[in-house]
Symmetry: C2
Subunit: 143 residues, 2 copies
DNA sequence: AAATTAATTGACAGTTTTACTCAGGTATGA
DNA sequence: TCATACCTGAGTAAAACTGTCAATTAATTT
Protein backbone atom coordinates (compact mmCIF):
# COMPACT_ATOMS: atom_id res chain seq x y z
CA UNK A 1 0.00 0.00 0.00
CA UNK A 2 2.11 2.81 -1.31
CA UNK A 3 1.44 6.45 -1.87
CA UNK A 4 2.45 7.31 -5.46
CA UNK A 5 5.48 9.51 -6.00
CA UNK A 6 3.00 11.99 -7.44
CA UNK A 7 1.48 12.47 -4.00
CA UNK A 8 4.85 12.54 -2.27
CA UNK A 9 6.29 15.02 -4.75
CA UNK A 10 3.23 17.21 -4.44
CA UNK A 11 3.61 17.46 -0.68
CA UNK A 12 7.35 18.04 -0.88
CA UNK A 13 6.92 20.68 -3.55
CA UNK A 14 4.30 22.46 -1.50
CA UNK A 15 6.60 22.54 1.50
CA UNK A 16 9.36 23.89 -0.70
CA UNK A 17 7.04 26.54 -2.08
CA UNK A 18 5.99 27.65 1.38
CA UNK A 19 9.43 27.47 2.89
CA UNK A 20 11.26 29.52 0.27
CA UNK A 21 8.43 31.83 -0.66
CA UNK A 22 8.62 35.45 0.41
CA UNK A 23 5.14 36.29 -0.77
CA UNK A 24 6.37 36.74 -4.31
CA UNK A 25 5.59 33.93 -6.77
CA UNK A 26 8.01 31.00 -6.84
CA UNK A 27 8.76 29.53 -10.26
CA UNK A 28 8.59 25.81 -10.84
CA UNK A 29 12.17 25.98 -12.11
CA UNK A 30 13.30 26.96 -8.61
CA UNK A 31 11.38 24.12 -7.02
CA UNK A 32 12.60 21.69 -9.65
CA UNK A 33 16.23 22.55 -8.93
CA UNK A 34 15.83 22.55 -5.16
CA UNK A 35 13.83 19.34 -4.89
CA UNK A 36 15.42 17.56 -7.84
CA UNK A 37 12.11 16.88 -9.51
CA UNK A 38 11.73 17.20 -13.28
CA UNK A 39 10.30 20.56 -14.27
CA UNK A 40 7.85 18.96 -16.66
CA UNK A 41 6.54 16.60 -14.05
CA UNK A 42 6.07 19.49 -11.65
CA UNK A 43 4.05 21.30 -14.30
CA UNK A 44 1.64 18.38 -14.34
CA UNK A 45 1.31 18.40 -10.58
CA UNK A 46 0.85 22.14 -10.16
CA UNK A 47 -1.75 22.23 -12.86
CA UNK A 48 -3.79 19.92 -10.65
CA UNK A 49 -2.93 21.76 -7.46
CA UNK A 50 -4.22 24.93 -9.07
CA UNK A 51 -7.48 23.31 -10.13
CA UNK A 52 -7.75 21.95 -6.61
CA UNK A 53 -7.62 25.46 -5.20
CA UNK A 54 -4.35 24.88 -3.33
CA UNK A 55 -2.21 27.36 -5.28
CA UNK A 56 -2.70 30.34 -7.56
CA UNK A 57 -0.61 30.93 -10.64
CA UNK A 58 1.02 34.12 -11.87
CA UNK A 59 2.08 34.13 -15.50
CA UNK A 60 4.85 35.96 -17.25
CA UNK A 61 8.25 37.19 -16.12
CA UNK A 62 8.68 36.95 -12.39
CA UNK A 63 5.68 34.71 -12.29
CA UNK A 64 5.22 31.37 -10.63
CA UNK A 65 2.96 29.98 -7.97
CA UNK A 66 1.73 31.26 -4.63
CA UNK A 67 -0.40 29.63 -1.95
CA UNK A 68 -4.10 30.13 -2.54
CA UNK A 69 -4.68 30.21 1.21
CA UNK A 70 -2.57 30.59 4.32
CA UNK A 71 -0.37 27.62 5.14
CA UNK A 72 -2.25 26.95 8.35
CA UNK A 73 -5.36 26.43 6.24
CA UNK A 74 -3.96 23.92 3.77
CA UNK A 75 -4.26 20.34 4.94
CA UNK A 76 -2.04 17.52 3.71
CA UNK A 77 -5.01 15.39 2.69
CA UNK A 78 -6.22 18.21 0.44
CA UNK A 79 -2.88 18.31 -1.35
CA UNK A 80 -3.05 14.59 -2.01
CA UNK A 81 -6.68 14.80 -3.11
CA UNK A 82 -5.74 17.48 -5.62
CA UNK A 83 -3.27 15.31 -7.46
CA UNK A 84 -5.95 12.66 -7.66
CA UNK A 85 -4.64 9.99 -5.43
CA UNK A 86 -7.28 8.17 -3.48
CA UNK A 87 -6.92 7.72 0.27
CA UNK A 88 -9.48 4.91 0.39
CA UNK A 89 -7.63 1.59 0.60
CA UNK A 90 -10.18 -0.55 -1.27
CA UNK A 91 -11.72 0.05 -4.67
CA UNK A 92 -15.26 -1.01 -3.76
CA UNK A 93 -15.63 1.90 -1.35
CA UNK A 94 -15.99 5.62 -1.99
CA UNK A 95 -14.77 8.52 0.11
CA UNK A 96 -17.87 8.57 2.25
CA UNK A 97 -17.50 4.90 3.18
CA UNK A 98 -20.32 3.76 0.93
CA UNK A 99 -19.76 0.36 -0.57
CA UNK A 100 -21.68 -1.88 -2.88
CA UNK A 101 -20.80 -4.90 -0.80
CA UNK A 102 -21.27 -3.46 2.67
CA UNK A 103 -24.08 -5.85 3.57
CA UNK A 104 -22.44 -9.16 2.87
CA UNK A 105 -18.86 -8.06 3.31
CA UNK A 106 -17.43 -9.03 6.70
CA UNK A 107 -14.27 -7.08 6.10
CA UNK A 108 -16.08 -3.85 5.42
CA UNK A 109 -15.58 -2.39 8.89
CA UNK A 110 -11.81 -2.76 8.92
CA UNK A 111 -11.36 -1.01 5.61
CA UNK A 112 -13.77 1.73 6.49
CA UNK A 113 -12.07 2.33 9.81
CA UNK A 114 -8.71 2.32 8.10
CA UNK A 115 -9.90 4.79 5.49
CA UNK A 116 -11.21 7.14 8.15
CA UNK A 117 -8.01 6.88 10.13
CA UNK A 118 -5.80 7.68 7.16
CA UNK A 119 -8.00 10.59 6.16
CA UNK A 120 -8.20 11.88 9.70
CA UNK A 121 -4.51 11.67 10.28
CA UNK A 122 -3.54 13.48 7.11
CA UNK A 123 -6.27 16.05 7.71
CA UNK A 124 -4.74 16.84 11.08
CA UNK A 125 -1.54 18.03 9.39
CA UNK A 126 -1.37 21.42 7.72
CA UNK A 127 1.30 22.71 5.39
CA UNK A 128 2.40 24.99 8.17
CA UNK A 129 2.80 22.08 10.57
CA UNK A 130 5.07 20.39 8.08
CA UNK A 131 7.38 23.34 7.76
CA UNK A 132 7.57 23.76 11.49
CA UNK A 133 8.72 20.18 11.78
CA UNK A 134 7.95 19.59 15.44
CA UNK A 135 5.51 16.77 14.98
CA UNK A 136 4.56 13.91 17.21
CA UNK A 137 3.56 10.59 15.80
CA UNK A 138 0.20 8.95 15.10
CA UNK A 139 -1.72 11.37 17.21
CA UNK A 140 -0.84 14.04 14.72
CA UNK A 141 0.65 17.50 15.04
CA UNK A 142 -1.66 18.81 17.70
CA UNK A 143 -0.68 16.41 20.44
CA UNK B 1 -3.13 4.46 -2.00
CA UNK B 2 -4.80 1.14 -2.47
CA UNK B 3 -4.39 -2.19 -0.80
CA UNK B 4 -3.84 -4.83 -3.49
CA UNK B 5 -6.58 -7.37 -4.11
CA UNK B 6 -4.05 -9.91 -2.92
CA UNK B 7 -4.20 -8.45 0.57
CA UNK B 8 -7.98 -8.04 0.47
CA UNK B 9 -8.50 -11.59 -0.78
CA UNK B 10 -6.16 -12.95 1.86
CA UNK B 11 -8.14 -11.32 4.65
CA UNK B 12 -11.48 -12.39 3.19
CA UNK B 13 -10.27 -15.93 2.68
CA UNK B 14 -9.01 -16.12 6.24
CA UNK B 15 -12.35 -14.97 7.57
CA UNK B 16 -14.06 -17.57 5.40
CA UNK B 17 -11.73 -20.24 6.68
CA UNK B 18 -12.38 -19.37 10.29
CA UNK B 19 -16.10 -18.86 9.87
CA UNK B 20 -16.85 -22.14 8.14
CA UNK B 21 -14.23 -24.26 9.80
CA UNK B 22 -15.28 -26.89 12.30
CA UNK B 23 -11.79 -27.82 13.33
CA UNK B 24 -11.41 -30.09 10.34
CA UNK B 25 -9.32 -28.77 7.43
CA UNK B 26 -11.11 -26.56 4.91
CA UNK B 27 -10.19 -27.08 1.28
CA UNK B 28 -9.31 -24.18 -0.96
CA UNK B 29 -11.98 -25.37 -3.35
CA UNK B 30 -14.61 -24.61 -0.74
CA UNK B 31 -13.21 -21.15 -0.12
CA UNK B 32 -12.88 -20.52 -3.84
CA UNK B 33 -16.54 -21.33 -4.43
CA UNK B 34 -17.78 -19.43 -1.41
CA UNK B 35 -15.71 -16.29 -1.96
CA UNK B 36 -15.66 -16.44 -5.76
CA UNK B 37 -11.90 -16.28 -5.95
CA UNK B 38 -9.97 -18.42 -8.45
CA UNK B 39 -8.65 -21.61 -6.91
CA UNK B 40 -5.24 -21.14 -8.41
CA UNK B 41 -4.92 -17.63 -7.09
CA UNK B 42 -5.89 -18.87 -3.65
CA UNK B 43 -3.18 -21.50 -3.82
CA UNK B 44 -0.64 -18.78 -4.33
CA UNK B 45 -1.95 -16.82 -1.36
CA UNK B 46 -2.18 -19.75 1.03
CA UNK B 47 1.29 -20.86 0.13
CA UNK B 48 2.45 -17.52 1.52
CA UNK B 49 0.09 -17.62 4.48
CA UNK B 50 1.55 -20.98 5.41
CA UNK B 51 5.12 -19.72 5.17
CA UNK B 52 4.01 -16.76 7.28
CA UNK B 53 2.87 -19.10 10.02
CA UNK B 54 -0.76 -18.07 9.75
CA UNK B 55 -2.15 -21.42 8.63
CA UNK B 56 -1.11 -25.06 8.58
CA UNK B 57 -1.75 -27.36 5.66
CA UNK B 58 -3.05 -30.89 5.60
CA UNK B 59 -2.41 -32.82 2.41
CA UNK B 60 -4.30 -35.62 0.82
CA UNK B 61 -7.95 -36.53 0.69
CA UNK B 62 -9.97 -34.56 3.20
CA UNK B 63 -7.07 -32.19 3.56
CA UNK B 64 -7.03 -28.43 3.39
CA UNK B 65 -5.97 -25.64 5.69
CA UNK B 66 -6.45 -24.94 9.38
CA UNK B 67 -5.49 -21.92 11.48
CA UNK B 68 -1.98 -22.21 12.85
CA UNK B 69 -3.06 -20.34 15.98
CA UNK B 70 -6.31 -19.38 17.61
CA UNK B 71 -8.27 -16.67 15.82
CA UNK B 72 -7.85 -14.26 18.71
CA UNK B 73 -4.12 -14.50 18.19
CA UNK B 74 -4.01 -13.75 14.46
CA UNK B 75 -3.80 -10.06 13.68
CA UNK B 76 -4.94 -8.53 10.41
CA UNK B 77 -1.58 -6.84 9.83
CA UNK B 78 0.11 -10.23 10.04
CA UNK B 79 -2.13 -11.60 7.33
CA UNK B 80 -1.24 -8.74 5.05
CA UNK B 81 2.46 -9.02 5.86
CA UNK B 82 2.36 -12.68 4.91
CA UNK B 83 1.18 -12.04 1.39
CA UNK B 84 3.99 -9.54 1.06
CA UNK B 85 2.17 -6.31 0.84
CA UNK B 86 3.93 -3.44 2.52
CA UNK B 87 2.07 -1.21 4.95
CA UNK B 88 4.65 1.55 4.71
CA UNK B 89 3.31 4.29 2.45
CA UNK B 90 6.65 5.50 1.05
CA UNK B 91 9.39 3.46 -0.58
CA UNK B 92 12.32 5.25 1.07
CA UNK B 93 11.28 4.01 4.49
CA UNK B 94 11.45 0.54 5.99
CA UNK B 95 9.12 -1.07 8.52
CA UNK B 96 10.99 0.32 11.48
CA UNK B 97 10.72 3.89 10.22
CA UNK B 98 14.34 4.09 9.11
CA UNK B 99 14.84 6.19 6.04
CA UNK B 100 17.82 7.18 3.96
CA UNK B 101 16.53 10.73 3.68
CA UNK B 102 15.29 11.29 7.22
CA UNK B 103 17.73 14.11 7.90
CA UNK B 104 16.93 16.43 5.05
CA UNK B 105 13.40 15.29 4.44
CA UNK B 106 10.80 17.61 5.94
CA UNK B 107 7.98 15.25 5.11
CA UNK B 108 9.52 12.34 6.96
CA UNK B 109 7.45 12.77 10.11
CA UNK B 110 4.08 12.66 8.37
CA UNK B 111 4.86 9.45 6.53
CA UNK B 112 6.33 7.82 9.60
CA UNK B 113 3.32 8.77 11.67
CA UNK B 114 1.01 7.53 8.97
CA UNK B 115 2.88 4.24 8.72
CA UNK B 116 2.66 3.71 12.45
CA UNK B 117 -1.00 4.54 12.47
CA UNK B 118 -1.85 2.11 9.70
CA UNK B 119 0.18 -0.61 11.32
CA UNK B 120 -1.26 0.06 14.74
CA UNK B 121 -4.81 0.09 13.50
CA UNK B 122 -4.56 -3.17 11.60
CA UNK B 123 -2.68 -4.75 14.49
CA UNK B 124 -5.56 -3.93 16.79
CA UNK B 125 -7.86 -6.19 14.75
CA UNK B 126 -7.73 -9.93 15.11
CA UNK B 127 -9.27 -12.54 12.86
CA UNK B 128 -11.72 -13.25 15.63
CA UNK B 129 -12.76 -9.61 15.81
CA UNK B 130 -13.54 -9.68 12.12
CA UNK B 131 -15.80 -12.66 12.36
CA UNK B 132 -17.63 -11.24 15.34
CA UNK B 133 -18.42 -8.18 13.27
CA UNK B 134 -19.32 -5.84 16.09
CA UNK B 135 -16.65 -3.30 15.38
CA UNK B 136 -16.49 0.37 16.05
CA UNK B 137 -14.66 2.64 13.71
CA UNK B 138 -11.22 4.18 13.83
CA UNK B 139 -10.64 3.41 17.46
CA UNK B 140 -10.47 -0.24 16.52
CA UNK B 141 -12.24 -3.29 17.84
CA UNK B 142 -11.48 -2.77 21.49
CA UNK B 143 -13.34 0.50 21.98
C1' DA C 1 6.64 46.02 -30.93
C1' DA C 2 9.81 42.29 -30.01
C1' DA C 3 11.91 39.21 -27.03
C1' DT C 4 11.85 36.68 -22.92
C1' DT C 5 9.98 34.39 -19.12
C1' DA C 6 7.00 31.16 -17.36
C1' DA C 7 2.57 29.00 -16.88
C1' DT C 8 -0.62 25.72 -19.55
C1' DT C 9 -2.21 21.78 -22.13
C1' DG C 10 -2.54 17.33 -24.25
C1' DA C 11 -0.52 13.49 -26.17
C1' DC C 12 2.53 9.82 -25.82
C1' DA C 13 5.91 6.15 -24.37
C1' DG C 14 8.79 3.25 -21.43
C1' DT C 15 8.77 0.61 -17.26
C1' DT C 16 6.87 -1.65 -13.45
C1' DT C 17 3.30 -3.78 -10.94
C1' DT C 18 -0.80 -6.33 -10.63
C1' DA C 19 -3.68 -10.03 -11.14
C1' DC C 20 -4.10 -13.55 -12.65
C1' DT C 21 -3.62 -18.45 -15.56
C1' DC C 22 -1.14 -22.69 -16.89
C1' DA C 23 1.28 -26.70 -16.42
C1' DG C 24 3.06 -29.50 -14.08
C1' DG C 25 4.54 -32.08 -9.45
C1' DT C 26 4.03 -34.20 -4.55
C1' DA C 27 1.86 -36.16 -0.53
C1' DT C 28 -2.03 -38.58 1.67
C1' DG C 29 -6.15 -41.30 2.42
C1' DA C 30 -9.68 -44.51 0.67
C1' DT D 1 -3.79 -47.22 -7.42
C1' DC D 2 -6.82 -43.73 -7.81
C1' DA D 3 -8.77 -39.51 -6.37
C1' DT D 4 -8.06 -35.55 -3.67
C1' DA D 5 -5.79 -31.55 -2.50
C1' DC D 6 -1.64 -29.17 -1.57
C1' DC D 7 2.55 -27.13 -3.85
C1' DT D 8 5.59 -24.59 -7.14
C1' DG D 9 7.40 -21.82 -10.77
C1' DA D 10 6.83 -19.78 -15.05
C1' DG D 11 4.36 -16.95 -18.09
C1' DT D 12 1.17 -13.15 -19.64
C1' DA D 13 -2.29 -9.49 -20.55
C1' DA D 14 -3.77 -5.32 -18.72
C1' DA D 15 -3.36 -1.50 -15.96
C1' DA D 16 -0.94 2.01 -13.51
C1' DC D 17 2.91 4.70 -12.78
C1' DT D 18 6.39 7.98 -14.02
C1' DG D 19 7.71 10.57 -16.58
C1' DT D 20 8.95 13.21 -21.57
C1' DC D 21 7.83 16.08 -25.71
C1' DA D 22 5.84 19.57 -28.28
C1' DA D 23 3.25 23.42 -28.80
C1' DT D 24 0.56 27.41 -26.91
C1' DT D 25 -0.84 31.38 -24.20
C1' DA D 26 -0.06 35.26 -21.27
C1' DA D 27 2.58 38.71 -19.00
C1' DT D 28 6.70 41.46 -18.47
C1' DT D 29 10.88 43.68 -19.85
C1' DT D 30 13.60 45.97 -23.22
Amino acid sequence: MRLSTKAQYAVRAMVSLHLHGTGAPVSLRDIAVREEISLQYLEQLFSKLRRGGIVDSVRGTGGGYVLARTATDIRVDEIIDSVEETLVPVSCMDDSGRCSCSEQCVTHNVWQGLAEGIRGYLASYTLDDLTRQAQTKWSGPSA
